[in-house]
Symmetry: C2
Subunit: 155 residues, 2 copies
DNA sequence: TTCGGTGCAAACTTTTTGCAGAGTA
DNA sequence: TACTCTGCAAAAAGTTTGCACCGAA
């Protein structure tokens, strides 16, 4: 899927969600969403706020939180809480599948990975315990190649 | 290891930590630790505070936080952040090995499990990405057998 | 014209910290 | 006696909410 197709698919999902819930489209939401989709990283509300502040200083932090909540409910974003205290929002594109995370404890870099075999074993564990799983979280913390090489160990 | 032996081992680790860091033993700390070790669950500071309030209403929440921090640094407790917003402290006994968690999204029950094969695959993933892992977190969220049976789905 | 949205500031929640008095070694 | 510890209340830090005005449909 091309970046343009992704933008378009997101727009459709978003519009459908608004209509279905009697909500309205606004310029602030458009700006926030475009920026969020563009930076496909793992942003916190505050980071997104900072990223927009220069070009759009009038957009408030509260609006960012409210918009991210809408995106999460519409399935366009996913909330992630790593061990650094605040919530990050990850872009959940139309063709994205579930994945887990490698988190660098020195520079904060986050990499995604997918491993079917681990997921299968998780199912197995859940079955043994009689749990009906509907979500999971797997995070590996350590030093990324760059930080390991340069001997860094703090953020 | 019998419960008594566990208490004794914890006491030794704790005392050694205090001595090594020039800290002092106090009655409040004794009370908090005893209660914490007894309830081997996954307690938040506030839950521990509530549990002690009846018998020891004068112990402040700040002291609980401070004591849990000491226990964590001494290796007797481990901080766990699930998806419910606050930090839980898990007892890390002298003979406990690493384990992961099954969390019921309805009643909050937490079960522990251990799976060597999953851990091996995690190492493999980390190697492929060039990360040097020193910690990880795996949580499976869903309904525990009781809640699944009774059709509950909220906490 | 009607509601929902926005920015701001205040409120909230969980955790930390400053302080003056109390307790331990 | 010399520090550390305690409880309290205030402060932090991240997130949510109330309100009066603004703007989309």
């Amino acid at each position: 899927m091309s970046p343009h197709d992704v933008q378009e698919a997101v727009r459709q999902t978003y519009q459908a969600y608004l209509t279905r819930h009697g909500l309205k489209s606004t310029v602030q939401r458009e700006i926030i969403i475009k920026r969020f989709v563009k930076s496909r990283g793992h942003l916190s509300a505050d980071e997104l706020y900072a990223a927009l502040r220069e070009e759009h200083p009038s957009i408030g932090l509260a609006t960012i939180y409210r918009t991210l909540k809408i995106l999460t409910e519409a399935g366009i974003a996913r909330e992630q809480r790593f061990n650094d205290g605040f919530t990050r929002y990850e872009f959940n594109g139309p063709d994205d599948r579930h994945h887990d995370h490698l988190v660098c404890t020195a520079c904060g870099r986050v990499e995604e990975f997918e491993n079917r075999e681990i997921e299968r074993l998780q199912e197995e564990v859940a079955n043994i315990h009689g749990f009906a799983i509907n979500d999971h979280k797997l995070e590996l913390y350590g030093l990324c190649p760059d930080c390991a090489r340069s001997g860094r160990n703090v953020g």
